[in-house]
């Protein structure tokens, strides 16, 4: 069976959730070979998790030349691996980095690429949800080695134990790929809540929340559910929950697809729906019974969020009691 290259998403050797989803998706096409970009030792730290989800082989590209520059070196190393391994496909996470690497790689190896894939069939047919969730498209790469970026939370990760061998990749990056230097990485994370795009539950607040202080209500409900906190564009534009890009759910923000999405004081403009429409279960609280968000909601409460949210939070905490 042909190899399928899977670019591992991780943070200092700890795999992100999407990595197990990528390995699961890859198994439909062939034998997953994980590609680890990182610092020395990262591949070893990741080995158990990657094996758990079926990685037969790990390519360890551990070098400052890869981590110190934006995107381009990773595309270059991948192009080398494609040449060496002749894989059936290359899979990446549909993150900013993942999509940019995919695009660069497509130009380098003259292959087609598709982004934001939510489902991948054994024959390579890829499903994408486009136009703010309104249209489902099935496409196929018709030239070269298919390069596919997979949306977070779209594929259900399933373990398939394997014992991967680790192969060190000799990293030699051209000067051309070292033009954009990463001078610093800054975290603005302000809580231990799960990351928005990875979370299985998201609680978002909108204009109706009214102020930055009131967002404590949203946080309280989120914490009772172990959820991530999100915000609509109207809320971030009003500075209710900074920094904007980290929490904004919508067309120009993040796209989330959790098991449960709770929309509080959010009317449900297309801008917002684009970022949450594929959530599995949607619950809405809004005082306007005509709010478009109710068209999407599996369960909606028409009422004052300042009464409904505290009651719900208390009831959830009581159940855990």
């Amino acid at each position: 069976m042909a190899e399928v290259l899977v670019v591992v998403e991780h943070s200092g050797g700890a795999a992100k959730k999407i990595t197990s989803e990528l390995l699961t998706a890859a198994r439909a096409l062939g034998e997953p070979s994980a590609v680890v970009f990182g610092a020395a030792g990262d591949a070893d730290k990741l080995k158990d998790t990657l094996g758990e989800y079926g990685a037969q082989k790990i390519y360890a590209a551990e070098s400052a030349d890869v981590t110190d520059y934006l995107v381009a070196p990773r595309a270059e190393v991948l192009a080398g691996l494609v040449k060496q391994a002749s894989p059936a496909a290359v899979l990446l996470a549909s993150t900013t980095d993942g999509k940019e690497i995919a695009g660069r790689l497509a130009v380098k190896i003259e292959s087609g690429f598709l982004t934001g894939v939510t489902e991948l069939a054994a024959d390579g047919t890829a499903t994408q949800v486009v136009f703010a969730g309104a249209v489902i498209v099935k496409s196929k790469v018709t030239k070269g080695t298919p390069i596919l970026t997979i949306a977070t939370n779209a594929v259900t990760a399933e373990p398939a134990a394997a014992t991967p061998s680790v192969e060190a990749v000799e990293v030699s990056v051209s000067d051309a790929a070292k033009k954009a230097k990463v001078a610093d990485r800054v975290s603005e994370k302000k809580s231990s809540r799960p990351e928005l795009t990875e979370a299985s539950i998201v609680v978002s607040g909108g204009r109706g929340v009214g102020s930055a202080e009131n967002f404590a209500l949203i946080e309280g409900l989120a914490d009772s559910l172990g959820a991530a906190v999100g915000a609509s564009r109207a809320a971030v534009d009003s500075d209710f929950y900074p920094p904007p890009h980290q929490f904004q759910v919508g067309q120009t923000g993040k796209t989330v697809s959790p098991n449960l999405y709770v929309a509080v004081g959010i009317s449900g403009a297309i801008q917002h729906r684009a970022g949450m429409q594929t959530s599995k279960t949607i619950v809405a609280i809004n005082k306007d019974e005509e709010a478009p968000i109710f068209e999407l909601a599996d369960f909606g409460v028409v009422g004052d969020l300042f009464k409904v949210v505290p009651q719900a939070t208390e009831a959830i905490n009581a159940r855990k009691g």
Binding site: L70, T96, K179, V182, L225, F299, G300, V301, G303, K307
Partner: protein
Amino acid sequence: MNIVVLVKQVPDSGLERNLRQDDKTVDRDAGNLVIGELDEYAIEEALKLKEAHGGEVTVLTVGPEKATETIRKALSMGPDKAVHVSDPAIHGSDTVATSAIIAAALGKLEYDLVIAGAESTDGQTGALPAMLSERLGIAQLTGARKLTVDGDKLTTIERQTDDGYEVIEATTPAIVSVWDTINEPRYPSFKGIMQAKKKPVETYSLSDLGVSADQVGLDSAWSEVLEFSGRPPKGAGVKVPDEGDGGSKLVEFLATQKIV
């Protein structure tokens, strides 16, 4: 400092959008066509740099004849001139071919920076700026929420990441892409709208750019849409008025879904 801003005419994301039944490309006849939302932020950033450093701002678009409306809209904000690449053979081009066309057009222009939106509101591929960096061999400064030009060469951005940002440095020439967090785009003034009608717009065909027609378009795309359908409407949910127990009812619902 000379800057080229990339703009794209797209179907209004506030209205219903679909693909065409005949060739499965984006339907550009239904609904309203507008300038890409993030493109306005790219133009604003270019104009701010021009105000600080001098130079010229050129708008570049690839699109059918009617994209002229989008060019005028862009020019009304303040750029100096525009380049419009238009050719019937371009219809249906994928991102790979589009990047080749834009790269060829940029080859005709002088620039220190190219600025684009981080992604389009229709295709949302989000890879085009990186692909131009790859094709042109210039630095990629993408996903910016802040852009600083130091002197006339060193350019720094804050690139948005999931939990914060990365500081990325490069020297010009470079391609920058921006999110809507970077600035607040100006509204075109009446004077700007009037002036836009007189600003020079140069039109290039594929042969002007030395791009072969058989390398672009739907038939040469490296991926193919097999089929598409409207997302099935969600089954009607339950909507209850809060009669003092709305929060509890909500939690009961979550319990039936085994979420709590």
